[in-house]
Amino acid sequence: MASRRRMLLKVIILGDSGVGKTSLMNQYVNRKFSSQYKATIGADFLTKEVQFEDRLFTLQIWDTAGQERFQSLGVAFYRGADCCVLVHDVNVMKSFDNLNNWREEFLIQASPHDPENFPFVVLGNKIDVDGGNSRVVSEKKAKAWCSSKGNIPYFETSAKEGFNVEAAFQCIAKNALKNEPEEEVYLPDTIDVGGGRQQRSSGCEC
């Protein structure tokens, strides 16, 4: 089971619907892109093995849907996440404005140990659209927000063209890994049999 000593990292992808979360995940894991839009319902899960600094680990990617009726799942979905990826569409201002809500929502629901230092990564997606002409969220603006939230790493991506996707996920993996706490020593109690049994035992060797 554990002799392989690999680590499993749980990664949550959040952002408004339509920004390209599912596409990014599919581009990263399957190197495929579909321009057909199919709303994610509930959640999708993908896994990918990643090599990083001589260590093999598994990314378990949780791609959640934006539908209202699944919001209640937050706690269950976010529990135990190692990294949270916030995605916006650089062509839609609203999706960028909502990053703050997504981040806060995540921190409330997942209630990580050290919220200040919980690893987030922000992706500005769909930079390919219209050759960049329809873009409304500038790189500068996005980076400013990221640095105001404790220097969140920022990547500009195109799920369609596979641009920067690999690099972004490498960073996601790295940050998830960094956040791994020191292995605690596991020390459960020993039974206290109680009364004189223990004491009596030492003296009774016939």
């Binding site: 554990a2 399957n30 319902i41 509930g42 999708d44 269950a76 979905f77 706490p181 459960p188």
Partner: protein, 619 residues
């Protein structure tokens, strides 16, 4: 018995009828059983045996299980829960409105006949590590393929069977949920954390099943969010059974047709095995850190879990919640018990001497009693961990039924290839003291020939149905004396001889003593001599046990079933439970009479097949 003739004539009619109409035959058979099974209870205090059988206790017939109860049980709703489960039910059992999609379309696996994912990307199948497997395998898994992982050659009786070919440890590590072979496995077991991280999978690599594991977590959490609990999902031939233990989720997916109650108990034992290794304090780690990964703490225990799961298909202790003893002459067991008693009085909590899965003797310190499930899990842990065989060991273990929160320490020593001694203490510094005790115990056991006797018993086996005495005499309480007894009973009816197996077509039996928490089963003999037949009989008993203990319909006193494979007879009293399998053509009245004889026989040899009385005298 004088009423035999009257009953046998009516029963003979049944015996030619492979499918008796339950509504007409059940009353007859119950009458017959009630009337003829005499109450023979075991005596636990070694007082003299009562001479003639006591008149039967008056058991109501009204509360007996109708013979079609099986189908009733099977009709339990698809999702056993109340409340807002609609969406889960839809997505999992019908394949519509899929809520959660794993990269490999696991709902396909679950439902067995549904259409591949109705949402999501066509390209989203297969994890990155094993790409190229298309979803076309989905249709195939509904077939009832022979399970490649569960079988195993067995010999001997249920209780002490030795698998000559079954090898513990995880197999098929290269599979994942996208593999057709993985999907075809008949029975999967998963353990995952409440954050959806895989902890254990019977087949396949845990990491490659991370997506599947997340799907399971999503299903459990979704239902839990509605303030409910998902316990069972039926999907085609598959049953998906869930067990939530705090931060640890256990799931069984099976198309073995075992009752879901049994699958649930198997998950309970799997959880117990995990607790035995780590204690329930593991929950605190999850409280402190939801990301907690417990797999490193379980390092090297694959064999422990695989052998436990394997025992679900051959070891009756897993559903009877009772242990079995190695058959031994009374003085031999007494000699072993006496020395263990001395150890227990010196501050050891439990002293246990076992031969494979069977107990030679067992002594607990004052008031401490060992639950049969704990014994099962402990024995499984010791036997499946190779390291215990090679040297004396001192290992922290937890007995989940004794105290799930804390560790005990087990001194384990193999006295020979099969026989091992376990001394459990709460004192972490007791190793050397226990080592000294072991040396003394070993000397006593050698002097009183216990180890040789144990080896002999392993070879000879215990109760063979062929040796069932015709006229059990109350004073001939010895297994070995029955061995030499002339077999063909002169007074038995001719039809009796025509059948295979023991007298009157008796093929096998299990007798469980309720007070003792122990059971004894007969050795397998013709015609139950292939692993496949043994497993089928095991499953039949398991089903019978479940139906006898059904909480809604039961408790039941007697049950008589006849199908193409067997006549199965079950009789439950306050003191014991008897499960017996007969030739399908066996005469009903004679079968009932034979059960009486079996009970008397067990009673005659109880000194040898059971561990009686807690406090043997000290030397």
């Amino acid at each position: 018995m004088s009423s035999d003739d009257a009953h046998s004539s009516s029963s003979e009619h049944d015996s030619t009828d492979q499918n008796p109409n339950p509504s007409t035959s059940i009353d007859q058979s119950l009458d017959a059983i009630e009337g003829q099974l005499t109450s023979i209870s075991l005596n636990h205090r070694n007082s003299p045996l009562p001479e003639p059988p006591i008149p039967p206790p008056h058991h109501g017939i009204g509360d007996t299980l109708p013979s079609d109860a099986h189908s009733q049980v099977e009709e339990v709703g698809a999702v056993e829960k109340s409340g807002s489960d609609v969406e889960v039910e839809n997505s999992v059992s019908r394949g519509e409105g899929v809520l959660w999609r794993n990269s490999s379309d696991v709902e396909g696996e679950v439902e067995g006949q549904g259409s591949p994912s109705s949402s999501g990307y066509a390209g989203g199948k297969g994890t990155s590590s094993s790409s190229g497997v298309s979803g076309s395998g989905i249709e195939e898994i509904s077939g009832d393929e022979v399970d490649q992982g569960e079988g195993g050659i067995r010999s001997g009786s249920f209780g002490g069977s030795v698998d000559s070919e079954w090898v513990p440890g995880k197999r098929h590590v290269n599979e994942d949920d996208a593999s057709v072979s993985w999907r075809k496995r008949k029975k999967h077991f998963f353990v995952l954390s409440h954050s959806g991280k895989p902890i254990y999978s019977r087949y396949g690599d845990e990491h490659r099943l991370a997506g599947f594991s997340a799907t399971l977590q999503a299903i459990i959490s979704f239902v839990e969010n509605g303030g409910d609990r998902v316990k069972l999902v039926r999907a085609g031939k598959h049953q998906v059974v869930f067990l939530v233990k705090g931060p640890i989720y256990l799931v069984c997916i099976s198309c073995t047709e075992e009752p879901h109650e049994s699958l649930n108990e198997q998950l309970e034992l799997l959880y117990g095995q995990m607790i035995l290794i780590l204690t329930k304090s593991i929950n605190r780690c999850f409280e402190k850190n939801p990301k907690f990964d417990m797999t490193p703490l379980l390092g090297g225990t694959d064999a422990v879990f695989s052998s436990l799961i394997h025992s679900y298909s051959w070891n009756p202790a897993t559903f009877l919640h009772a242990y079995s003893c190695l058959p031994l002459a009374y003085p031999t067991r007494q000699a072993a018990g006496a020395i263990l008693q001395d150890v227990a009085e010196s501050g050891v909590l439990f002293a246990i001497l076992m031969c494979k899965h069977k107990v030679i003797s067992l002594v607990g310190a004052q008031k401490a009693s060992l639950h049969p499930d704990d014994m099962l899990l402990l024995a499984n842990f010791v036997m499946s961990s190779e390291s215990f065989r090679t040297s004396e060991s001192f290992s922290p273990i937890c007995l989940p039924r004794y105290n799930p929160m804390a560790f005990l320490y087990a001194y384990v020593y193999y006295l020979d290839a099969d026989t091992y001694l376990m001394l459990l203490t709460a004192n972490p510094d007791a190793f050397y003291r226990l080592k000294d005790w072991r040396i003394r115990i070993e000397m006593v056991l050698l002097k009183s020939n216990v180890l040789n006797e144990a080896q002999r018993s392993m070879l000879d086996g215990g109760m063979h149905v062929e040796d069932l005495p015709v006229d059990p005499s109350p004073r001939s309480g010895s297994l070995s004396s029955h061995l030499g007894q002339p077999r063909p009973p002169p007074d038995s009816a001719d039809r009796c001889k025509a059948l295979l197996g023991g007298p009157c077509g008796l093929w096998h039996f299990i007798y469980r003593s309720i007070y003792l928490d122990q059971y004894v089963s007969s050795e397998f003999s013709s015609p139950i001599n292939t692993p496949k037949q043994q497993k089928r009989l095991y499953r039949a008993y398991q089903k019978l046990y479940t139906s006898m203990h059904d909480r809604e319909l039961g408790p039941h006193k007697t049950q008589f079933r006849r199908d193409n494979n067997y006549v199965l007879l079950c009789w439950v009293t306050q003191d014991f439970e008897l499960y017996a399998a007969f030739d399908p053509l066996a005469d009903k009245a004679l079968a009932i009479k034979t059960c009486n004889r079996v009970c008397q026989w067990v009673k005659d040899v109880e000194n040898e097949v059971f561990l009686l009385g807690a406090s043997p005298f000290s030397w």
